[in-house]
Amino acid sequence: MVNLNFIYPEIFLSISIMALLIIGVFKKNSSNLIFNLSIISLLGSLALIFNFPINTNIELFNNGYKIDYLSSFMKILTVSSGIFVLLSSNKYIQIININKIEYPILALSSILGMMVMVSSNDLILFYVGLELQSLSLYVLASFNRDNLASTESGLKYFVLSALSSGLLLYGCSLIYGFSSSTNFFIISENLTESSNGLTFGIVFILVGLAFKISAVPFHMWAPDVYEGSPTSVTVFFAILPKIAALTVFIRFLYVPFLNLIEQWQMIIIFLSIASMLFGAIAAIGQKNLKRLVAYSSIGHMGYALAGLSTGTNQGIQSSITYISIYLFMNLAFFSCLFMLKRDEKYFENIEDLSGLAKNHPLLSFSFLIVLFSLAGIPPLAGFFAKFYIFTAVIEESMYFLAIVGLLSTVIAAFYYLRLIKIIYFDIEKEKYETNHNIGLKLSLLISSIFILFYFIYPSWLTEMVEKINMI
């Protein structure tokens, strides 16, 4: 008998999704109610994660579903950032008129998919989670269906993502063929030496995963989709799928294929270097803030992958720390973006920031710390994220990776500085509205405080992450 205790969070979330669907269908004009209820069900699911000790280590469903510290930690990150994303975008979706009942429900089902992904210990289960996540995201991306850019981005994401899912499935089948199992444990037991077919399998799966976290050279979709989607969905894209995909990266590389590290290490290093450099250089010429975030997140994923490429616990921990801090920075950035509103219209071009500091000192200050933090300037949280990564990378004497990474930090600093320049040094424009809802203010406040004061006691995050031991 399977002990279902440990998957209560997932069960609760799926039941709430169905219940919300029914409420939404039978109750007219219930979109606000559904929105609030979906936040509550996320909170409930979060509470259920804490229901059992977080350091449980247990496998369910024929070892296919793993509950361990890594999965619980990542679930907490996913669900809580989901809550904040929904909170901060509440007003936005009302104003651009996409406040339909499906919106929060799709977001919830995508989060459910991610929860399955981070816990999966089996290729098939992992694929199921991935598809649940992606399918919801396709719809979300094109949710503003009267808007050409939004539908285009949804379609683009769907086509490219389906292709990458196909590659990924092909990789899974190759691995099944060469190791005669889909379970990560059994694969790792059966694999004693590498073979060409297996290498191909690993490469295909890595391609599929790299697509999900938009690592170069599988990043093409990101800028268009980020720009075209409604901003509330872009936040989603920028944060949540990356957490889940990075977890899968960790689990996939470090459970079944740790022995084949020679096979995949170079690939990850290449993905990492290409993403860091490309993200830094391509962002320089951007005019749209969302597009800029797309490139900047490509670069940030490069750093997270650099941590993974080390093949050590230290490296995994640094990647997870990176993604946790990245989450707060992006949340803060988008919360700032949601505040650029005037006359029922949201602004998302870089020039709209011009001279913001004159009229909105606090908002500009938040922008300032977020941007310096993204650039990795001490003492803000972003510096520590990079610091841990480079500590792990240099421990393995991968100096080339470290130096390329740090140099691309300098290049990337340029475009972050450009934004600061526009906010602080340029001539001011009209004022923006300041009547923001409490959820948005809360998410900006929490994330800014995190970024600004992280340096006072950095141990609390590292201590949590240090319990993640894969090797």
């Binding site: 310096f372 300037i377 001490p378 300098v410 500085l417 590292t462």
Partner: protein
Amino acid sequence: MDFPILSSLILLPILGSLFIFFSKSKSNTNVTSKYLALFVSLGNFILSLYLWYLFDATTSDFQFLEERSWIKGFINYKVGIDGISILFIILTTFITPLCVISVNNTIKNRLKDFLIAILIMESLMIGVFCSLDLVVFYLFFECGLIPMFLIIGIWGGERRVYSAFKFFLYTLLGSVLMLVAIISIYWMTGTTDVTYLYNIGIEAKYQNLLWLAFFSSFAVKTPMWPVHTWLPDAHVEAPTAGSVLLAAILLKMAGYGFIRFSVGLFPIASEYFIPLIYFLSLVAIIYTSFVALMQEDMKKLIAYSSVAHMGFVTLGIFTFTQQGMEGSIFQMISHGLVSAALFFSVGVVYERMHTRLINNYGGLVSIMPKYAIVLMVFTLAAIGLPGTSGFIGEFLILIGTFKKSFLVATIASLGVILAAAYMLWLYKRIIFGEIIKDEIKKLMDLNKTEFIILSFLAFPIILFGFYPEPLLNTVEISIIDLIEMYNNNINLTKN
């Protein structure tokens, strides 16, 4: 545990800036913020003098140590001072109140933010000079970029954006390699604690690369030729108080870094790279002096002279003689005072005429006699005339250099002559000559704040020129010990 005086020095200005941030003050005058900032920075100055009073100059051990666990099992927040750092701390706390006073005349808009930036800058600079952990040092060192970037960018001149970017990116590029080196040191030795590293030393075969990584950061910050080009731009565009902070203190971080880290941690590599340092220092002294001769912009001229003066500093440090190193530290303190004074002086006429071009001036002596006198003092101090602090520093450095290499010392001495040429010529063109412009006739002489600032700077310049003992006594033991450690290391490798 005793009263954590160093942490208080670091935290006090930050607390002050928080108070200013939340204080209500009339937007047009900002009296409250000004007095708050002045009060805080003066308080810090008095605290640092008290620190000097408590300081025990008879030992080279680090004093007032504070250690706290920060990132568990990895990095400790550790601060402490020895004879070398205390002087820089006092220099910082001495210059900051003067900058705060000077805003009266120079900063017109967003005064409150400016004061906050200056105070945060003070905290960070004090942090740099007393941190005894490499990562903590790096944190303070890099963090200073943020307020300085804003100071140049928001309150700067016409090409402020270009200068601010150049300043930021140059320094960041230099520093990231230092970060790689710091992390490598951690993995090699298991610690980033400087005092501990002093004791165990770093394996000789790694020293050269690590030294170069640190050098890349300090060379940009010093600035040494050929990476000095950010300095004239940053100086010219920064507001007066910004230039003062930059010239008087920020540049000293690099000189301090050379002594504390390059020499202290990598003695063997330092020995190995002596020719490189000598070459770059000589180029800086001679070449930038010639460049300074040709400048038409007053601030630029002083900026280039800073590069030349810092060339003397690096030269002196790498002589590894007691005279040379003490001279370098003395020169840094003296240059901190003199360059601050010169930038304030330029600020005085700039506020009246709104031009920095030398050609637009002339004949100020009959219009602004007080100004002519104080500027004379500072010009002579910049040249290194006996009786001013500039003399002692350069003289000691040259003595130290003569011990090591006659040729290098001879070339460096030429720099002193060139300094006299460009500074006196500058003085002549501004102060003497005919009055060509009618506007000059209407100029007012120094007002009260300006007079206070400049006389406060003139006083120590002359005092230490005649009586350098207090400074030299403070650093002496620390320097002797450092040189002894250095010689031991060199002898060990030779045997």
